[in-house]
Symmetry: C2
Subunit: 109 residues, 2 copies
DNA sequence: CCCATTAATCGTATAATTACGATTATAGAA
DNA sequence: TTCTATAATCGTAATTATACGATTAATGGG
């Protein structure tokens, strides 16, 4: 109906999508768990999160679609890890975007 | 029903909320417009966005609640500007969080 | 072959987000 | 006072996100 994709600049849309991937504490927690433990099977993550397996699986999917993690099937498990390159790229782009916002130091008007 | 606020670590919840404020291209665009023009009245922003006045007003509210912009009533207008300190703080915190995610360079498993 | 384990997906319910037009409230101009 | 301009809010509709339990699919063990 109302299409963000066409109404807004491509770059802004991509950045917004990336921010959205980070916009839920469960997803940040998953990233932290992966960072701490290196490589995890899904169950490891489920054990550390206060959510049901199905919910964690969804969050993993969101992170994977955003490219922030990799996941591959390993036997009957699924193995996840952080995609360091993507995270780094996001960190740079987001940081750059925020840095280029001058921000009038004083009060408004 | 399911309370993010209590289920997750306070720091992660705050970071996620901040990311959520950045998770819509209209809001990023508003920040860009404010950065470019310094200080704006609401109408200036409405003129530059492909959205109705009511919608822009809502996005402004979200940004204000997240502390990323300041807004004050100036006569019959409303005057907005970026809150440079908050943006800088967010940039630092988000950057730090992402930087501390090691990210196993190689493949998964 | 049968069973257990693992994790993705389905079905569904609820909540949050987003959008618009219409309305309201305020302040300045005439 | 009355009219205009500005911007917030209301009411509502549509979409998206989130959660859970149940189911499914696939692998490996016995």
């Amino acid at each position: 109906m109302y299409s963000k994709a066409t109404l807004f600049d491509e770059h802004l849309s991509r950045l917004a999508d990336a921010a959205k991937a980070l916009s839920h504490p469960a997803r940040l927690m998953i990233l932290s768990v992966l960072a701490k433990r290196g490589t995890c099977i899904c169950g490891d993550i489920v054990d550390e999160l206060p959510l049901a397996q199905a919910s964690v699986s969804r969050h993993l999917k969101v992170l994977k679609e955003a490219g922030l993690i990799q996941g591959e099937i390993d036997g009957q498990r699924s193995c996840y890890c952080i995609d360091g390159k993507s995270v780094e790229r996001l960190r740079t782009e987001l940081g750059q975007y925020l840095e280029e916002l001058p921000g009038a130091e004083g009060a408004c008007c």
